[in-house]
Amino acid sequence: MSDRTIQARPAAAAGALVATLSGPSGAKPKRRLSGRNIMIYGTLFVAAAYYLLPLYVMVVTSLKGMPEIRLGNIFSPPLEITFEPWVKAWSSACTGLNCDGLSRGFWNSVRITIPSTIISIMIASINGYALSNWRFKGADFFFTILIVGAFIPYQVMIYPIVIVLREIGLYGSLSGLVIVHTIFGMPILTLLFRNYFASLPEELFKAARIDGAGFWAIYFRIMLPMALPIFVVAMILQITGIWNDFLFGVVFTRPEYYPMTVQLNNIVNSVQGVKEYNVNMAATILTGAVPLLVYFISGRLFVRGIAAGAVKG
C-alpha cells in the first residue's frame, strides 16, 4: 500500500505543475475601476458633500468679517480670517436685554445635561436589570406602561407637567428641568438596558444567585461591569438628546436658566439691528460642538454598543 503511494506521487506532482503554469493561481486580481466601485464611491462622495457643504459654508462664513459677507460669495474662503465673530458669539452677543453671549447658556446646558444624564441612566439601568432578571409579579405590565409612555406625544404632557412642577415648587428652576429630562428619558433607556441585560446569558445570573449574591450585589459586581458598552450608548443618547432639547428648555425654565439652544435661537432671531451672519454661524457651531465632540470621541463605542444591544430583544 505504502509503495503504491510513493510511486503515484511524482506523476501527480507533474500534472499539478502544468496546471499552475497555464491556469489561474493565487489571489484573484481585483480591478480598481470597475462599474461597481464607481457606483459605491460616487454615492459616498455625493452623500458626503451633501452633508459637508452646509458645514463648510458655516465655518467659512463665521471666519469672515461682515463687509466680506456682503459681497455675497458664500462658498469662497475668507480673504481675511477673523475670530471676532466667535468671541462675540461666546461673550457679548445680545439676547433681549442681556448682552453676555452664549457662555451663560452653555453653563446652563452643562448644569442641565450632566445631572439629567447621570440620574436617568442610573435609574434606567436598574429598571432594565430588574425587568430582565428578576421577573417580579407585574413586571410585564410595568414594562408595557413604560413603553406606551414612549409613544405619547410630548405636547400632550407639557401642561400637566407644568402644573405638577408648580405645585411642588420646582417650576422654572434647573432641578425641575432635570426631573423632566430624567422622566422622559426613562422609557427608551429602560428598553435599551432591559434588552441588553436580556442578551446576557441567563446562567450567569443563576450562578450568581447560587453564589449567594443578592439584588444589589449581582447588579454592581456582575452586571454593571459587563454593561459598559450599553452605558456608553445610553450616555451618548442622553447627552445629545438633552443638549439639543429646545422645547422643554423654553417651557420649563426662566430666561436666566435658558439652555444654550434657546439662547442660540434668541441670538439668531433677534430683530434689532443688522443680521450678523458671521456671529450667528459661530454661535451655531459653538452650540453644536458638544454633541459633535461626543460623537467623535465615542463613535466607535456607540456602534459597538448598538450592535451588542441589537443581538437579542
Binding site: 446569558p201 446562567e203 450567569l204 443563576k206 450562578a207 450568581a208 444567585r209 447560587i210 453564589d211 450585589a217
Partner: protein, 363 residues
C-alpha cells in the same frame, strides 16, 4: 443509607403548561444520579427546582433532611455547574472561585485555603490569575466545577456540563468528574441528554419523558431490562431492533410471531405472563444477535441478507434484511461482509425484551 435529596410530589407549571407533575425522587447520600432525557423533557427544570432557581407550584424538596422548599439557592447547600460555564467574564479565575465566599463574608484566610484546595484538586493552579476569556473550554468548565467545590456543599448539581465541549475533551472531563465523585463522595445530580455520559457516570439513571420519570435504576438494569418501549429505544446506540408481531404458543411454549416468522422465547425472563394472542413488540439489541460461526449449537437459526455494512473500527455494524424487517447487528470489527451476502442469525432471548404493543410496558 440516608437520603440526601428527596423530592416529594413536586409539580411545576408555567401558566397552563404542566412541566413536572407529582414527581417523587429519593437520592441517596453520596449517590451519582443522572437525569437523562431528550430536550424539553423537564430534566433541567427539575434540576433548577432542586437548586431553588425556579419556584415550584406544589410539593416539597428536602436536602439533607431539611425542608428547603422555600429557601434561597445559597441556603440549600448546593453547588451548580452550568452548560455555558457561566463564569463571570470580568473576574480572574481566582475571583470567580472566591466570589461566593466573599459574598458570604468568609474570612480571607479561609477563602485562600479553600480556593487553593479546589485549584489543586482540579489542577488549575497555573490559571488562577487569568480571565475566563483566556481559557479553553475544558479549562473553563474545570473552573466552573471549582466554583461549586469551594462552597463546600453537600450536593453538586450539573446541568449538561460537557455539552459545549468537543468529543475528546468531553470524554476526558467525564473521567475527571467520575474521579472527583469517587474521591469526594458527595451527592451529585447530573443532567444530560448524552446516554454515554449517563451510562458511564451514574450509580442510578432516571430517564425522563414529558416531565415523568420513566425508569429509575442502575445503568446495567436500564440497558438490559428497560421497563418500557421509550426507555428501550432511548438507551443504546445503535438503537435496539424492534419487531412488531404477536405472542403465540408452540408445543406449549411461548413464541413470538412477526411477519409469519416464529421466534422461540426460550430463556426469556418474563415479568408477566406471555399470553398467546397478545400484540407485542420484540426488542433485541444489535450485539445480542449472533451471526454465522458465533451461533451456539442448538440455537434457533434465521436467514437474512446483508444490506449495508458500517465499519466503526472496533465494531462492525451490519444492517440486515430479515423477513420484511431491517435490523442492525453488531459484530467484531475484523469480520467483513459484502452487501447481498446471505447470513445465518440467532437471537439471544435471555437478553431480549418483549413489550406489550398497547401499554408499551415490558412483559
Amino acid at each position: 443509607m440516608n437520603s440526601s435529596v428527596s423530592i416529594k410530589d413536586l409539580s411545576l407549571s408555567f401558566g397552563a403548561v404542566n412541566v413536572l407533575e407529582n414527581l417523587n425522587l429519593e437520592i441517596r447520600d453520596g449517590e451519582f444520579l443522572v437525569l437523562l432525557g431528550s430536550s424539553g423533557c423537564g430534566k433541567s427544570t427539575l434540576l433548577n427546582c432542586i437548586a431553588g432557581l425556579l419556584d415550584i407550584s406544589e410539593g416539597q424538596v428536602f436536602i439533607k433532611g431539611k425542608n428547603v422548599t422555600w429557601e434561597e439557592p445559597k441556603d440549600r447547600g448546593i453547588g451548580m455547574v452550568f452548560q455555558s460555564y457561566a463564569l463571570y467574564p470580568q473576574m480572574t479565575v481566582e475571583k470567580n472561585l472566591s466570589f461566593g465566599l466573599k459574598v458570604a463574608k468568609t474570612p480571607q484566610a479561609e477563602i485562600d485555603k479553600r480556593v487553593a484546595r479546589a485549584a489543586e484538586i482540579l489542577q488549575i493552579q497555573p490559571l488562577l490569575k487569568r480571565k475566563p476569556s483566556e481559557l479553553s473550554g475544558g479549562q473553563r468548565q474545570r473552573v466552573a466545577i471549582g466554583r461549586a467545590l469551594v462552597r463546600d456543599v453537600d450536593v453538586f448539581l450539573f446541568d449538561e456540563p460537557l455539552s459545549n465541549l468537543d468529543a475528546k475533551l468531553r470524554s476526558e472531563l467525564r473521567v475527571e468528574i467520575k474521579r472527583l465523585h469517587q474521591s469526594l463522595k458527595n451527592t451529585m445530580i447530573y443532567v444530560t441528554h448524552d446516554q454515554i455520559e449517563a451510562l458511564t457516570l451514574a450509580d442510578r439513571i432516571a430517564i425522563m419523558k414529558n416531565g415523568v420519570i420513566q425508569q429509575l435504576d442502575d445503568p446495567i438494569a436500564i440497558y438490559n431490562a428497560p421497563r418500557n418501549l421509550f426507555v428501550a429505544g432511548f438507551i443504546g446506540s445503535p438503537s435496539m431492533n424492534f419487531l412488531n408481531g404477536e405472542l403465540a404458543a408452540r408445543d406449549g411454549k411461548p413464541v413470538f410471531v412477526a411477519n409469519g416468522v416464529t421466534f422461540g422465547l426460550d430463556g426469556y425472563d418474563a415479568d408477566g405472563t406471555l399470553k398467546a394472542g397478545r400484540k407485542a413488540v420484540l426488542g433485541v439489541r444489535p450485539e445480542h444477535i449472533k451471526v454465522n460461526e458465533d451461533i451456539a449449537a442448538g440455537s434457533e437459526i434465521h436467514d437474512a441478507i446483508v444490506d449495508i455494512e458500517e465499519p466503526m473500527g472496533a465494531d462492525n455494524l451490519l444492517w440486515l434484511k430479515h423477513a420484511g424487517h431491517t435490523m442492525s447487528v453488531r459484530i467484531n470489527g475484523s469480520r467483513r461482509f459484502q452487501p447481498g451476502t446471505a447470513v445465518k442469525l440467532a437471537f439471544d432471548m435471555t437478553m431480549a425484551s418483549v413489550f406489550d404493543a398497547e401499554t408499551e410496558l415490558r412483559i
